[in-house]
Amino acid sequence: MLEHILITEKLSKSFPSGGSELAILHGIDLKVEQGSTCAIVGPSGSGKTTLLGLCAGLDSPTSGEVILADRKLGGLSEDERAQVRNESVGFVFQNFQLIPTLTALENVLVPLELRGEKTRNAADLARELLVDVGLGERVTHFPSQLSGGEQQRVALARAFIGEPAILFADEPTGNLDGESSAMVEEMLFELNNVKKTTLVIVTHDRELANKAGMVLVMKDGRISETTRA
């Protein structure tokens, strides 16, 4: 078992803007222990989502390094990064990001199918997970037939089906009402507890953030404060 599942070293990111470079992140150094929960908070424009994207291998830094599950992402090709994401990473998005033309079951199956696992076994597993999140009766329903909270629970099931080493959640309760938010939060932390998946959550919600073991406060592209529970 790794001590640190996620490490960033002097991670920086800037974008071209009107002939010059706009720096979003400035030399972020970060270590997240395996099996821990980490919340990233900060005002809009502080670089939270950019940091999340870099850590998950969705984007490449301008400088610095990301080491995820003991693999340096910098030297990897796009296909190799995709493979790392498939094997080691789970995602929960603010907008759920379910594929609208797939049923709940089919959405949950996608990570395993991409991995090439046998469909029958994967389907059984997917059904189990959907039951776990309280959607056992809705496996054949499309996202448009589900409420926001239900869609997010399907997204949770999808995120966990591959038994990822780390799960990134970007504002997982941002589009949910209070009751649904509470349900999703509970499931997130329970799944983390049971499956020992490292959790990294970007959120504006201080209450949610305080449930995490480590809270990173971002401001102007830097980590201004680190709090451990």
């Binding site: 999340l52 969705l58 994401r85 995602f91 609208p100 797939l102 089919e106």
Partner: protein, 872 residues
């Protein structure tokens, strides 16, 4: 390679199927964009294959013999040349020996143009008399009505007419027909005639006369354009065995005798078919290209709606290659579906086209399935679909997984900076050009490339027009304009608008169809207007000197004028610049002169003045000559083309023979002649006072202006003077016009497939935009817009789309028809606004109608109703 690998993963196909849910109907509509193009190619290809097989199987029946020898001069004793043995040249004697050495049966024919007259109704017309031995055809059968007519013909008891003649004059078996001086009963009509002798059969139908009676007509002579033929059958021949060896062919060539074999006729027909097939296939190819544009557009819209899905998949670990493969699979399936459906349609069409356009073929075609054409059509449709789908697919590769986090995905790269894009474009253009070359006549690379360049230019112009429309709509529409007009015009440039696709599809369709209509009209008009306007339309040939006065009286009795009255003197070349023709090559007098000039009987005339379509190029015109002064040498005017062929100029001498008389000539001038003008044009024109005593006959022309008057004149003249032949030029031009019209119908029929493809794309395009319209309508209705206002917005948008596409297509057709008229067909360009305006009006009406049909219900129902029904 990794992209290809991903295509073989079961997940790719599963995902492609699932991912297409809710869009299948719309995607299938777009897949049918290649339906008509493939259908056209398969139909034309299958017919070509059927015709080719028929020609192959019935080749001998097409010729009716194994070998045909033909000449403008008699070369067989059966031609009863009237010349004594001593008068036959060495070469003709050689031919006679050759023929007698050939094994097998033979049938002899003399054909000539003359008038047939039916005393019963006093009907008369120009016909092609085929005086032939009744053993012909050796292969195939002549079928007559009544059935015993051929037996009567064989016994020399009657003539057989083509059905058209009998129908025209109401002639029945037993009626008398007079051909020249010969009167014979009509034995019957052909139900299935023997093979046609020449292409001119279309102008004058045939009358079959027992050969031994031919000279009783007294109509065979130089004035009746005789043709002499001998047909051979040798049953011992193997299928592709040559009858003549090289030495024999040389003997025949030197004597001016042409040979034609079954293989030669097959090749000739095959060449014509191939050219027609290529031309029609290229038109079908245009429809297919348009279909490709439609499919590409469908995929572009489809992918742009799926970018968030692609971003999500990328987050979950899907590689760019795999994500691209999903949509490539969808594109391939669309292309395959459309191509297979198109091929089935093509097979159906194959059964109907012959009934519409090939009714008058002299043989029956067996309409069998042509698997190679069907598979080829499917293959071409599939290749084109996939080629066009590649371009929008390039966008999928570049979708960033980060877009999933940000919640909005978009195409994030500039195509011209991406080398893969250029590779894909090059691959597409290369594949399409290769196909165009393959389909072009004789597979000439330049033709195929030229075709693609022209098409590319047209598409580029249409694309530019779309850009200009968007720009203009943005710039010119002012706030003072009525809202519904502003909104309708704004829809032309809103995100995900249909302007470009519509311009390309509808504009190309209009351009193609209107171009074909304009060129066809120019061809027909040119034939009629240029050729006959204010000119003679009736020619009277072989008017003997003693008949001229009476014939003049007959013409004038009908209140007609004599336009021209040219005396004709027949002569042949014997020396050029003092050297005999036979010795010309030996003396190395430059290069050889054309063979036809050595054999030809020149029909020359004499007159004091030039006519309107002649112009002196060099030398002086001589009106009249005193032969005493010139010591017998006659100054002659020579047409510039023949002067070039004979390599003579002003001052050179010629010797010609007219009967037994020898004429010594000096070239007084070189004259240009507008041969395209229908009139009496001559290679050699003599001055007055030179050759009047050698006059053989006269040719007279008049302008009747109507078929009825021509008919009346014909009856009057032929009844009294059966030797005179009347040619109705306007009827011939009408026949040519009819042929051009028929060909035009076939071409327009094929062009219709382009139009239908455009319509299919139109349906699909408007269907694609339905969601946008719903969103817009919901918003407007929520803000208080009435049903009428929303409909007016829709009408404005569709009317503008139709107007600009129609206008662009019409203007392009003007340019295209000018290029074809001036550079391809050598016609005077005639600008015709009518067809262009008609095409525009039709397109506008159609676009608005389809647009309103596909948008039905949007304006009428409540916003919430619409949202619920669309979400369900």
């Amino acid at each position: 390679m990794k992209y290809l690998r991903e295509l073989f993963r079961p997940w790719t196909w599963r995902m492609a199927w699932r991912e297409s849910r809710r869009e299948r109907y719309r995607l299938l509509v777009f897949s049918l964009a290649v339906f008509f193009g493939v259908g056209a190619l398969v139909a034309i290809g299958s017919l070509r294959s059927n015709l080719g097989d028929t020609i192959e199987n019935k080749a001998k029946e097409l010729l009716g013999a194994d070998l045909l020898l033909r000449s403008r001069k008699p070369f067989h004793k059966g031609h009863q040349s009237g010349l004594s043995q001593s008068e036959l040249s060495g070469r003709q004697a050689e031919v006679k020996q050759l023929i007698s050495d050939l094994p097998g049966e033979r049938a002899v024919e003399v054909s000539f143009m003359t008038m047939i007259f039916f005393p019963k109704g006093e009907g008369s017309r120009l016909v092609n008399v085929r005086a032939i031995d009744p053993v012909y055809p050796f292969y195939g059968k002549a079928v007559t009505s009544p059935e015993n007519a051929w037996d009567k013909f064989q016994r020399g008891e009657g003539v057989i007419l083509e059905a058209a003649i009998a129908e025209q004059f109401g002639v029945v078996p037993g009626d008398v027909a007079r051909i020249g001086n010969l009167k014979m009963p009509v034995a019957g009509v052909f139900v299935q005639p023997p093979p046609a002798a020449s292409a001119f059969a279309v102008f004058s139908p045939a009358v079959f006369l027992p050969r031994q009676r031919a000279w009783e007509t007294a109509a065979i002579g130089i004035q009746s354009f005789p043709n002499y033929r001998v047909y051979f059958r040798d049953p011992s021949l193997a299928l592709d065995q040559e009858i003549l060896d090289e030495r024999q062919k040389k003997v025949l060539r030197r004597a001016g005798v042409r040979s034609e074999t079954v293989e030669g006729r097959k090749k000739g027909l095959g060449k014509i078919l191939d050219r027609l097939y290529s031309f029609l296939s290229l038109i079908g190819f245009v429809a297919l290209l348009l279909g490709g544009v439609g499919i590409a557009s469908a995929m572009h819209v489809h992918i742009s709606r799926r970018l968030r899905t692609v971003a999500t998949l990328r987050c979950l670990g899907c590689s760019p290659a795999r994500a691209t493969a999903v949509f490539l699979t969808q594109g391939m399936v669309l292309g395959l579906f459309g191509s297979i459906a198109g091929a089935l349609f093509g097979v159906l069409l194959q059964q109907f086209i012959p009934r519409l356009f090939l009714k008058d073929l002299p043989f029956e075609i067996s309409l069998d399935l042509a698997p190679s054409e069907i598979l080829g059509g499917i293959g071409i449709g599939f290749i084109i679909s996939v080629s066009f789908v590649l371009l929008p697919l390039l966008n999928v590769r570049r979708v960033s997984p980060l877009s999933a986090l940000r919640g909005q995905a978009e195409f994030s790269f500039r195509r011209w900076r991406d080398p893969f894009s250029w590779l894909a474009i090059a691959a597409v253009v290369g594949a399409l050009t290769a196909l165009a070359v393959d389909l072009s006549p004789e597979k000439k690379p330049l033709l195929g490339i030229g075709f693609m360049v022209a098409l590319g230019l047209i598409l580029f112009v249409l694309w530019m027009v779309a850009r200009v429309i968007s720009w203009l709509a943005r710039r010119l529409v002012g706030m003072s304009w009525p809202y519904v007009l502003r909104q309708g015009l704004a829809n032309l440039y809103r995100p995900r608008n249909q302007t470009t696709l519509f311009q390309l599809s509808a504009g190309l369709g209009v351009c193609l169809v209107v171009t074909l209509v304009l060129v066809q009209e120019m061809l027909i008009t040119q034939l009629g207007v240029k050729t006959l306007e204010g000119k003679a339309d009736t020619f009277l040939i072989n008017v003997r000197p003693a008949q001229v006065q009476d014939v003049t009286g007959m013409i004038e009795s009908l209140q007609l004028n004599i336009e021209e009255n040219a005396p004709i003197v027949l002569m042949k070349l014997s020396q050029i610049k003092g050297i005999k023709l036979a010795d010309l090559k030996r003396e190395n007098e430059g290069e050889k002169i054309p063979e036809w000039t050595r054999q030809r009987d020149f029909r020359s005339t004499y007159r004091g003045e030039m006519i309107a379509n002649e112009k002196i190029v060099r030398g002086e015109w001589v009106e009249k000559v005193d032969l005493v002064q010139t010591d017998g040498t006659i100054p002659v005017s020579v047409e510039e083309g023949i002067a070039r062929d004979l390599k003579i100029d002003v001052g050179d001498t010629l010797t010609m023979k007219s009967g037994k008389d020898e004429l010594v000539l000096r070239v007084a001038n070189i004259r240009s002649v507008e041969w395209g003008e229908l009139g009496l044009n001559f290679f050699f024109v003599f001055p007055e006072g030179s050759i009047e005593q050698l006059r053989a006959f006269n040719v007279m022309t008049t302008r009747t202006g109507s078929g009825a008057k021509t008919g009346e004149l014909t009856r009057m003249v032929v009844k009294k003077f059966p030797n005179v032949t009347l040619i109705d030029a306007s009827a011939m031009i009408d026949t040519v016009s009819e042929i051009v019209e028929q060909v035009g119908w076939v071409i327009r029929f094929m062009a219709l497939f382009t139009v239908l493809t455009g319509i299919m794309i139109l349906f699909g395009t408007i269907l694609s935009g339905r969601r946008n319209r719903i969103e817009e309508s919901v918003l407007l209705r929520t803000l208080g817009a009435s049903e009428a206002q929303i409909l007016r917005i829709l009408i404005t948008e569709y009317a503008m789309l139709g107007l600009f596409a129609g206008l662009a297509g019409a203007l392009l057709s003007g340019v295209a028809s000018w290029v074809l008229a001036v550079f391809v067909f050598d016609l005077d360009y005639l600008s015709r606004i009518g067809p262009m305006l008609a095409a525009m009006a039709i397109l506008i009406c159609f676009t608005v109608s389809v647009g309103l049909l596909m948008s039905r219900g949007i304006a009428r129902h409540s916003p919430l109703e619409i949202l619920r029904s669309e979400a369900g």
